[in-house]
Amino acid sequence: MSEIKKYWKSLSQLNEDPIVKRLSENEFVEELPVDKFLGDKKNLSESQTSRRDFLKFLGFSTAAATLAACENPIKKSIPYVIKPEEITPGIANYYASTIYDGYDYASVLVKTREGRPIKIENNGTHSNARVQASVLSLYDSGRLQYPLKSGKEIDWKTLDNEVKNKLQEIRNGKIILLTSSILSPSTKQLLQNFINKYNRVEHAMFDSVPYDGILNANQESFGIRAIPSYKFHKTNIIVSFGADFLGNWGANNYASDYVGGRNPKSGKMSRHYQLETNLSLTGANADKRIQIKPSEQAYLLSNLYAALNGSSADKRLKSIVKDLKKNTGKSIVLSDSNDKNTQLIVNAINQKLSNYSKTLDISIPCYLKQGDTERVHSLIREMELGEVSALITYNVNPAYTLADNKRFIKALKQVNLTVSTSSYNDETAELMDYVAPDHHNLESWGDAKPYYNYVSLMQPTISPLFNTRQFQDSIISWAEMNEVDYYSYLKKFWSNKGIKWNQALHDGDFNLSESKYFPKRFVFQGKLTDNKTQDKNIEIALYESIALGDGAQANNPWLQEFPDPITRACWDNYITISPSTARDFGLKNWNISNGALNGSLVNIKSGNISLNNLPVMIQPGQANKTIGMAVGYGRKKCGKAGEGIGFNANNFSNSNFITIEKIEGEYEFACTQLHHTMMGRDIVKETTLADYIKDPSSGNERLEFSTYKGKLPSNKVTLYDEHDLKTGHFWNLSIDLSSCIGCGECVVSCQAENNIPVVGKEEVRKSRDMHWLRIDRYFSSEMTKELAVEEKISAIDMFSEMEEPSENPEVVFQPVMCQHCNSAPCENVCPVAATTHSSEGLNQMTYNRCVGTRYCANNCPYKVRRFNWFQYAENEKFDYHMNDDYGKMVLNPDVVVRSRGVIEKCSMCIQRIQDIKLEAKKNGDKIKDKDAQTACSAVCGTNALVFGDRNDQNSEVAKLREDERAYDLLDHLNVRPSVFYQTKVRNKG
């Protein structure tokens, strides 16, 4: 043992002088003269506190107390003790992962900052608005924060013991695992362990929106229960009977292929026919849209099949038949029917057209939908008979999604042990004995095999926020498996198959080398029908809204405030009905004094199912004598944002015919667009493919103005000094109106990137939505300027008729954000110079300087500026994610949260541009084209939005600027936007 060195302060200390010793024992060398003034009783009693002294003491103590109270509130932010190696504050990390919630699937990149996922980016494929918004659902404080037993908190150990004991006690009854379609191969194997562990375990899958028709038809035709893969880019003709494949039908990555096959520049554009009931996103993009009733689908498909075999076609199908015959092997016919026989006819048609293995392939099946609704029905019967002893649910909410949910809820009481693994205490979970809440996707490990030979991996990007446990870990525990956790199980599972785990995790996905599936030879066994429906009945067609899908994310305020691409309404579902049918029933939509939309109310009834007080939205393009209703709304238990929004349409999912009854009262909608036509204005420039091939600049004529120099286009007439836009960068954004399908993924992406507040239904109703990027949707009108001249209609009548959309309108979508004018009207009028021009062609907003006169918003011809009417963050009145400690974690630290009273608008994601510029500067590189991306352009799956530096001659955007289709919105104003559009090209017959 080493001795501790000792130092002395003085020689006397070394010599251990007794004085030193005594002094060191006594802290106070001299005695304090306390006694002197306290002991002197006489003086003490005589000394008095004068009034002045008293006031001094009072003043001092008040001031001291006040100052002490002024201390800043302590906010708990705990710094890293040891900084994790991969995290640098201020630098984002990206992790490849997978989003799958039983309905939506996407392979994604998750952007994290300081350990918090804040944004979803696409990993090479197209996703949708819901996938983009799922990052906010992670921070939903409405999620279950701990396991429950009969609605009361319980710890995991007790839950596991009780569940295991009860499972073991089961002797006769079945144990049912009721799940959504399971994409995960490892989970399927894991479940097998559970099945083997206990007696009579059965695994049943069902989809919230059933696909049994197509699955069963393919089972019968090809021996495989799956959806084929579609190659829309290889087609010349697409005929869709109701399938909203650009929206929610099937997988959500069809759009990139679809748009890939419609490139006017290459001269090849597939022609798209859509025969449908509701005006869907897909129908809105179709070249020709034919309105049919749902009941006509089987007849029309039979007729089409017969016509292809030589008999005469229905007059609606004549041109389709002609086109299909010309393009054998280069077409796709598809249908959304959930009837096996109808899907068999579709298969027969595609077989007849020899499309298989050319444009659609059953030997590369898609496994996204595997559910068997029939099994669920039989399950309910078994539950009623008491044959089921235990029910464990995962990723499903049958008490909400099933048409006969009431029967399910009743039957549930016959089951001894019920366990839900839902991450919400939802409609089903609240009825269960135990809830073992699952992690959110972004907290979970996992894998998914959505397609043949393709696997994508899911990895957690944050440690669990709540005391939840991944479903698979619950299974491992309940099956008493000899595993540490699901992560090691998963890693082992794929490593055993020869997959390099770390590389695969880095990429997010990998391909398997399985042998191709050989379908059995196709024999048509379906029945053709020539049954046309009676005209009297009103038919019903349910759909999933683009915003909410099946409603699993109903508590997500971004999605609730996401305007439907077609109706532009948010925070609601409603009955859509055609204008003429609405007239028949005396149903109306009207605008009240502040412009907001109101609608009539109806009751609907089908057999013994009825729904009352439903709002009516008059929807041009809806087939006559039909109504549409979106599922996904009317959630009763999902959290504060989504509860009580809309009504549950799922009860009607088995109904075909309904009766409508108008009732008294009115409904208040929140619509972000109140006017539906272009009023004969040159806003979306359009041409046809034939005209485009003849003249690429067709439909894109620029106005010319008479000047003293002769006629000049607007961009040559100016009073202003030009900005120097040649030096440095010149950021431009091209928006291709032919490629934009209006899906709105960019809208949510923008909202997530830029901390855009959610304002709620009442404020949207007052036209105060805050989205920086909106997608305008215009319907065509029967009245045109040409027609008015021809028929000598007065201007007043012409304009009033132009306000009415056609009954079967053509639809255009136009994303509009700040156009970043280089002669910006907003910049001139701001008294305090809070909005100014950058040297890189951007219009910039300085929030700190803004005093909120709103003059700029008035003077903006595009009306893209948004005002903070209230304090939207940390305000009880706007009780959404910005007023929630968890919800606030989604905010992008690179973008300021705006205070009330200032204007905000699209910044062209200046924070991203700046980030890329700094990165390039650090590396001594030039910025490469496509490196800098805005939030909207980064997620656009159809490449409709192209962002880049126009001064870089080789950039795509510079080339697009020179394209004959390029035009400025409202070019006659000559505000010289940095955003420009490409004309819409339709492939009309």
Binding site: L674, R768, Y778, P831, V851, T853, F867, S899
Partner: protein
Amino acid sequence: MQRESEIRDPLIIGNKSYHDITVEIAKPVEGKANKYWWILFFLSLILFLWGVLCIAYTIGTGIGAWGLNKTVNWAWDITNFVWWIGIGHAGTLISAVLLLFRQKWRMAINRSAEAMTIFGVAQAALFPLIHMGRPWLAYFVFPIPNQFGSLWVNFNSPLMWDVFAISTYFTVSVVFWYIGLIPDFAMIRDRVNGVINPLKKKLYTILAFGWSGRAKHWQRFEEVSLVLAGLATPLVFSVHSIVSMDFATSVIPGWHTTIFPPYFVLGALFSGFAMVETLLIIMRKVVNMEAYITVKHIEYMNIIILFTGSMVGVAYITELFMAWYSGVEYEQYAFLNRATGPYWWAYASMMTCNVVIPQLYWIKKIRTNLVTTFILSIFVNIGMWFERFVIIVTSLHRDYLPSAWTMFSPSFVDIGIFLGTIGFFFVLFLLYSRTFPVIAQAELKSILKSSGSEYKKGHNDE
């Protein structure tokens, strides 16, 4: 001594001596207020306090308390602003322009008209302040040297021009008004008994600025009045021209119009005279000034209203013509929409009140009748409010992209603030009528012998 033709109507009725004028004009200041004054005062005060509450609510919660939206970002706030500024214009015109043109009849009404100007501009100035999203940063709009870096105001912005135009106008108006008041304050000072009422004496002594009535004082008084009149005259035209540029320099169809400056100035005079009439017809009765503010005065003003109203009508029609003639579809639609769109009723009210109804003044019986004049002046006030509402709201609510089209509907706060400014205006005006000589008696005395009715009859032949 000026002489005036006998066939001209007298401007002072009755056999008044100089002393009579002094006594009668000092009476409201020296006497007690009657019942009507108190009733009016309390009504106005309640309105004013309600307005204060509404303003406090707005500043406390945000502009969202109003009915505005993403498309219509200005509505009642700027409508009220322009309306009040417009009302102010008659005062300056009467005191400055009519002075230069040597119109003697202005003497009976210029004091009150100027008071109205100042109180009106005070109401108007409120709106640019409270319509801001962050009014506590209002000082940003002044070119104050600051520590924030290279921050400076944007001199390109018409709102910036407004700041200067209104502050100049307000300052000049106050100075002009005050200079005119000095001899009259001196008159009250001299009449107040300092023993009974020392405070009042002291106050009016200060206000009278040492006025002694010396010839030199009178000479300077006349010179300063003339100089200030010369300064104020361009302001009559510049202020409302600049206000109109808030709209004229923008790109919004229906705003972007070169006709706006003269059109706004005429509209302002039109509404200003109407408001002067509304106020004076009541005031002459309440404070017994019938002898000084005669039907002839009212008739003169009615003629100006008839003229400016017709000019405003011409402007309206010119706008329509230009929209058609321009061939610009956005411009054409903007005006078509004004007349036939969802706000047709506002356009129709404006047209009726401003163009059709003033034409009744061609009839002598109507323009010389106090009751009809009072009713018509109210119509003009309403019509001119609607004119600003039509220009602002109907242009904004349907501009370029139909996707952004919407409507506007005021909230109770919008209405409350407007009523509050009316209340505030009347509170100020009623206080003024009890503390200030409401007629410029010193000036009026100068025309007693040329325009007094008794003198005109020949009693004064010397």
